[in-house]
């Protein structure tokens, strides 16, 4: 086993609840359990993929890690800092080592700022770099992400979607972060551009030794980009394993259904589809027991009563699954 200190990021039993308030007095009438007991670890240089359908809490996990939303309970340790109890200056240090790449490159770039300012601002504000040195640093960053150094005085609207995402990546790398959280970095892009960006992220990871938390809903994209994959459903991680194991030997019925629902170009890959009936239940009134039991083809009485533990069910090391019925040989 690896030493606990070897992890760049440790998340233990993280819970992020949002209170639902109603009425004149804004009384709290309940909670949406967006993240409900999530634990994972990321080693330096690794990519952890977080997959799941919309509303499963993937993005809330990311936002909680950088404390953009307050956690309800749990522990987040980045390097040696306990993020949730960090004071202002510690938090600032954590945040400059964690940067974010967002889904919508158009919405996350200020339309009134030039590319030079967008990418250079973190350096100017936090490292007090100015003048020609700043211009040089920005130019280097732009060329690293496949843009031209003379794009520096242009505005975001002059760029295509893929190029805008490159600008977002350059900005994320400006402070030489250790961890980059990529939240659906390619889902807004065209197919031919998507592969360019995925390659770029991989190249940058190699060059700068980056660690990624990669959030996506597309299993094929995650398979290409990630070393370890965690599948989320209704605020919980239901299965986690390294990419080969997870895709070769999925144990949770939800993971299997997700995989079988993907339309394939290659006819030989089209297996029989595990039709998944119904929809994701409301997060306001989550089902009792295993949250997936309402749609699960294997569900039995026990599943609607007790949440299954997240445990090892396969011979493979580090393959965890939360399901009463999963059976990994």
């Amino acid at each position: 086993m690896e030493n606990a200190n070897n992890y760049l990021l440790r998340v233990d039993d993280l819970k992020t609840y949002f209170a639902i308030k109603k009425g004149l007095l804004r009384r709290t009438v309940g909670f949406v359990k967006a993240v409900d007991g999530v634990s994972f670890r990321i080693c330096p240089g690794q990519t952890l993929g977080l997959v799941g359908e919309s509303g499963c809490g993937k993005t809330t996990v990311a936002r909680t890690i950088v404390r953009l939303v307050p956690a309800t309970s749990g522990r987040i340790v980045f390097e040696d800092t306990d993020v949730l109890s960090a004071d202002k200056s510690q938090l600032r240090k954590v945040r400059r080592n964690i940067s974010l790449i967002f889904q919508d490159p158009a919405g996350s770039l200020n339309p009134r700022m030039t590319v030079g300012n967008i990418v250079g601002d973190p350096l100017r504000v936090l490292e007090k770099i100015t003048g020609s040195e700043l211009a040089d640093r920005v130019a280097i960053l732009l060329t690293k992400v496949g843009l031209a150094a003379d794009h520096i005085n242009r505005y975001p609207h002059e760029f295509s979607g893929g190029q805008r995402q490159r600008i977002g990546i350059a900005r994320a790398l400006a402070l030489e972060p250790k961890l980059v959280i990529c939240d659906e970095p390619v889902s807004a892009l065209d197919v031919s551009i998507q592969s360019q960006i995925l390659n770029l992220l991989k190249d940058l990871q190699e060059e700068f030794g980056l660690t990624y938390l990669f959030i996506a809903h597309d299993l094929a994209v995650v398979k290409f980009s990630c070393d370890v994959v965690a599948v989320m459903y209704m605020g919980k991680i239901v299965e986690q394993a390294d990419d080969k194991e997870l895709y070769g030997n999925p144990l949770h019925p939800y993971t299997r259904a997700l995989m079988s629902a993907i339309p394939h170009v290659d006819p030989s890959l089209r297996g029989k589809r595990t039709a998944l009936g119904g929809e994701v239940p409301s997060a306001f009134e989550p089902p009792k027991g295993c949250p997936f039991h309402t749609r699960c083809p294997l569900a039995e009485a026990k599943c609607s009563e007790q949440m299954p533990p997240f445990e090892k069910k396969s011979d493979h090391q580090d393959h965890f699954v939360a399901c009463w019925k999963a059976n990994g040989k």
Partner: protein, 345 residues
């Protein structure tokens, strides 16, 4: 001609947008036929003219700035482009219906979903209120909405994305259209819901012998659901074929590039193959073959840079627009090319 088999024929359609900056040729001379009871899939990236084609068929192009400048859209023996607005209204939603990508923005938030379906049924089929309402409830049931009588009295915001898309479909098929245009019907949905919606479309198609014009950027969806395929690039169709042969062996370099750049579940490549460059914008299309700046062969070919290839039959029911596709070039063209630019390998 096998016109008995054709539900909708688009001939040489050209739709331009007249903007201050210039003329954007969003759709520039495309032809295709949607066969009865089959699914014709159109693939392409953003801005290639997929949706404008659909809106042209429905005659919903905002004018100004847009205008259909040439072509014919033949449905049931008549050219839709010569109909007046009143006649067109009889076709739209009744004979040819459309579902859109974002069900939230295409449903009216201030009416219940039931009343929105009723409106279509009453308008086109002249049914009474109570009959139309029971029709609407039955339609909701048919598209797989549980407890349809209650759901019909709900508003769009009370439903999930998948359910809203079902409502859209219920509305679109309520008048039993001959042709259903589905513009990115599942792009906003999760994969498990996507599979449900596509299955539902298959089922409705089989029941009514409905033709579907499926517009999507997802090649996986096309491969599983399309019977015939047209790949669009920069306002034109660059390749057209039946689904089987197309996916077995795409011919146009753009089609090949698209298929190769997809991450696959069964492969673990170190890198993905890519198509260099970006999709050109309608106001700044390159000369010659519009794909040549991104094409490894065409980039350095004088003819690709200057002369645009037109869609041509290359055998096996396949049409392609590429000078370098096998069987595309005539002997005369080859001779002419070699006399101009020198011998080719």
């Amino acid at each position: 001609m096998d016109d008995n088999n054709t539900a909708l024929a688009v001939e040489n359609l050209a739709t331009y947008f007249f903007l201050e900056e210039g003329v954007a040729k969003a759709v520039d001379g495309i032809s295709f036929k949607v066969k009865k009871g089959r699914t014709f899939a159109r693939v392409g990236e953003s801005g290639c003219g997929k949706s404008v084609t659909a809106l042209s068929i429905m005659r919903l192009i905002p004018d100004p700035p847009g205008r259909i400048v040439a072509g014919k859209i033949v449905f049931d023996g008549t050219d839709l482009l010569v109909l007046d607005e009143k006649q067109m209204r009889h076709v739209r939603g009744n004979k040819i219906a459309m579902i859109f990508q974002e069900p939230m923005t295409s449903l009216n938030p201030v009416y219940t979903v039931g009343s929105q379906i009723v409106e279509a049924v009453k308008l086109h089929q002249g049914k009474s209120d109570s009959k139309a309402w029971s029709d609407a409830v039955r339609m909701l049931e048919r598209v797989g909405i549980a407890d349809p009588a209650r759901r019909a009295r709900e508003y769009p915001h009370q439903m999930s994305g998948g359910m809203r898309q079902r409502v859209m479909i219920a509305m679109a098929v309520s008048c039993k259209p001959d042709v259903l245009i589905a513009d990115e019907p599942t792009t906003a949905l999760d994969v498990t819901i996507q599979a449900q919606i596509l299955d539902l479309l298959d089922e409705l198609q089989a029941q009514n012998n409905m033709s579907i014009l499926l517009i999507t950027h997802d090649l996986g969806v096309v491969a599983e659901r399309g019977d015939d395929i047209a790949v669009m690039y920069a306002s034109k169709i660059v390749e057209k074929a039946e689904s089987g042969p197309f996916f077995a062996e795409p011919v146009h370099p753009y089609s090949q590039g698209l298929l190769k750049s997809l991450p696959q579940l069964n492969l673990s490549p170190k890198r993905l193959s890519t198509i260099a460059g970006t999709v050109p914008e309608p106001l700044h299309f390159p000369t010659g073959c519009k794909f040549h700046p991104r094409c490894s062969t065409g980039r350095n070919d004088k003819r690709c840079q200057t002369t645009e290839p037109q869609l041509r039959n290359v055998g096996h029911g396949r049409q392609v627009a590429c000078w370098h596709a096998p069987g595309y070039e005539t002997n005369e063209e080859r001779a002419e090319y070699e006399s101009k630019y020198g011998k080719r390998q």
